[in-house]
Symmetry: C3
Subunit: 319 residues, 3 copies
């Protein structure tokens, strides 16, 4: 199919954020540059700009995630938008209404932005194909597919500390196979010109065929983070720790847990990132989380600015 990118209007401007895949370096850079302007807003005495005043942002969380919902709520509020939180899981879908009828109904209330979290990959795309032209869709995580604002805040953090993507080695460590964060990071890193992206973990979580994404697959931590500039540790989902994929969380930590000693394999000034919430002592040692190379809390801070940038940009472009 030779279709237009569903995230862009006919002028090539961003109208929905569904995935970092398929976005140009220019668009990604526009988002990061806009976010840079918003970082200062959250440190002001009055943490607000009037950009989205009188706009209605709907948080449509079909899957519960208080943390992510909160970051979008804060970002929208700081843009002066009105925010409506919809705990969709408990709501009309339970009455047998279809997803698209729910969406049509909410669109008719004159929504401007839908922030969508869904356990099914592709749900935000489906929604973006059916909303009225005045509505913009922002994916807040869909199944194993994508978590583009997490990917973008990771790019913002890397650019803040390392400036130039074209000279970097970045390692993504953990359950890459099931991670929408890893997928969004990989697409953004390769588009932004990062020449060396490695995915690191046991064969059950990092199969060799991931190399088709333009990354190097490593099955030992030493090889994976050797001389890296950036180490992104992923959260190990508890549900993977029993059964066929992993023997146990202690076993995982023994081979892939990031300790201060192992971190020395990376460059001296390497930064350590994590999307949260952290399992201390499983994928990462407490001494690393709280250590001088950790930029985990700055990631959270930049995440607000990146979400402000995304909402500000899409709301400013017409379908």
């Amino acid at each position: 199919m030779q279709r237009r990118n569903p995230q862009l209007n006919k002028n090539g401007e961003l109208i929905h954020l569904l995935s970092t895949e398929g976005l140009s370096r220019e668009i990604l850079t526009q988002i990061l540059d806009t976010a840079a302007n918003f970082v200062s807003v959250s440190s002001r005495d009055v943490k607000k700009v009037p950009l989205l005043r009188g706009k209605s942002v709907f948080n449509l969380f079909f899957e519960n995630s208080t943390r992510t919902r909160t970051t979008f709520e804060i970002a929208a509020t700081r843009l002066s938008a009105d925010v409506i939180n919809l705990d969709i899981a408990r709501s009309s879908t339970a009455k047998g209404e279809s997803l698209l009828d729910t969406i049509a109904n909410l669109s008719a209330m004159a929504a401007d932005i839908f922030v969508v979290r869904h356990s099914e990959s592709g749900a935000p795309y489906l929604i973006s194909q059916h909303v009225a032209p005045h509505v913009h869709v922002v994916n807040a995580g869909d199944g194993r597919h994508a978590h583009p604002t997490q990917g973008l805040l990771d790019m913002y953090t890397i650019r803040h500390y390392k400036k130039d993507f074209t000279q970097l080695s970045v390692a993504i460590v953990g359950d890459v196979l099931h991670s929408r964060v890893a997928r969004s990071d990989i697409h953004a890193l390769t588009t932004l010109g990062c020449p060396d992206v490695r995915v690191v973990g046991p064969r059950t979580l990092v199969p060799s065929d991931l190399s088709h994404m333009g990354v190097r697959v490593c099955h030992t931590l030493e090889e994976g983070i050797k001389d890296c500039d950036v180490v992104i540790t992923l959260r190990l989902q508890n549900e993977r720790m029993s059964g066929a994929l992993l023997p146990s969380s202690q076993e995982y930590f023994k081979s892939f847990g990031l300790t201060p000693e192992r971190l020395r394999w990376a460059k001296d000034d390497a930064i350590v990132m994590h999307p949260g919430p952290i399992n201390r002592g499983v994928e990462i040692d407490s001494a690393v989380v709280d250590g001088p190379q950790s930029v985990i809390l700055p990631q959270v801070t930049y995440g607000i600015a990146v979400r402000m940038a995304v909402m500000g940009i899409v709301a400013g472009n017409e379908a």
Copy 2:
């Protein structure tokens, strides 16, 4: 009892909205005219007016309804009010506190408007009799009794498309017996001068004694919607579809489901309405929902404006 209408102050002005029953044509028309002014607000770039700035609207939902709660939250927000959502079901009533103590307590927080949803018929009336004079009560649906803002948005929609109530035939199809929407529609339609209101459905859901409400009772769809200007389809509650009242939802659709073919019994320019959420293929065929005569989504849009009008009017009148 020769009591004053509990919805009006001694000057005959609306201070609570509890039911469309007992409201004069003048009051109903005032609400619809005010709503007409607010329809444009939701299509503006900045979707806000300062009418209720600094007022506190409490959404008191003793019965869960995310959809209705959302419409009131949006309406209040667009009037610049502050909205507090109270999930009362999980709250102080669970600690054994009485309804009236909860209400007295919330009144003492200097509330301006209580939007009340309750499974018991009459609860909003009871509350309106006990609130402090500065508090206005808006019924957001009580038991089988009334859903006056739904009734009013239905009137707004009919007036928008058909202009003059005094020439219209309106059919209400479905579980009229248990429907607070039907009841609110019937009272509003007869007050507004509609000469031909029909209620349509099987005898178990539309008993003959409904005719005391000034409506014609019809037990076949053809008779019911013949030459109608407006067809209002009601949601068939799942809990009615098993047991004594109805053989099955397929059986219901066979006799009363609104299909494109059957819709031809009505006038060519008849409009089709539904309060939502829709059971496609039960009370109404998808082709009708999405067809040219459907005004189901405009109903939702007008519903915001009608709720803005109701809250703006009651808050402006003194007890």
Copy 3:
């Protein structure tokens, strides 16, 4: 340990409100005087002041309490702050994240105030020791330890009706042993110079060793409220009413329930208070709740002003 009071900065100004214990008469009086200025705000047409405009207040309720959460939400909204409600019980802590990681994460979103409710005594203190310097912590009730805004609104109410603490007799009746409200009241009353504070109840709920708090222990209601100026009745928790501590709620009412007849033991102009929610007919008779000496609803009204004062004061002081 000779540590600085954790609620004060090095200039002795209030930066967190954790307990009424350890606060000077000057600080308590500053809060009550500031609240007096805010009482009028809630009776204005536009119930808002811009004091916290653009500030972010996070309601962190690790224990559910819709009523208390609502009072803080209203207070923050009337100061023009942006409020984020976090139902922490259902959220990231459920994913195994530690309390301090959750707090660090939320701090990084540029929070200004955390309002904390927790079932564990000391949790707000622990949080206040770990937040970034720009964050202020307000205790909204922790275990059996403290409920300082309830204590302060009780002081506001007493001062409003009785003016001078140094001439008063105050009785606190009920389950003093398990009550964070009683503890906060006692500390505030003694600091404000109240010469006669009595705690009243059966030996199982009011043990003799409470006298170390500077109060008189009374085991009969007559002795306890004899010639009192103020009677504070506490809610009897249902979970205490079975088993070892109490024979039954009827038995409790027979001995300690406050009836109009028994209230005559107190001074003629004594006021009756209750923190809510009320168990009518258990700790207090309906005729007293609704009677002329009851100031239970004014307590609620003053509670909003006191919470506005506390948030306004702490947000204005630097760590």
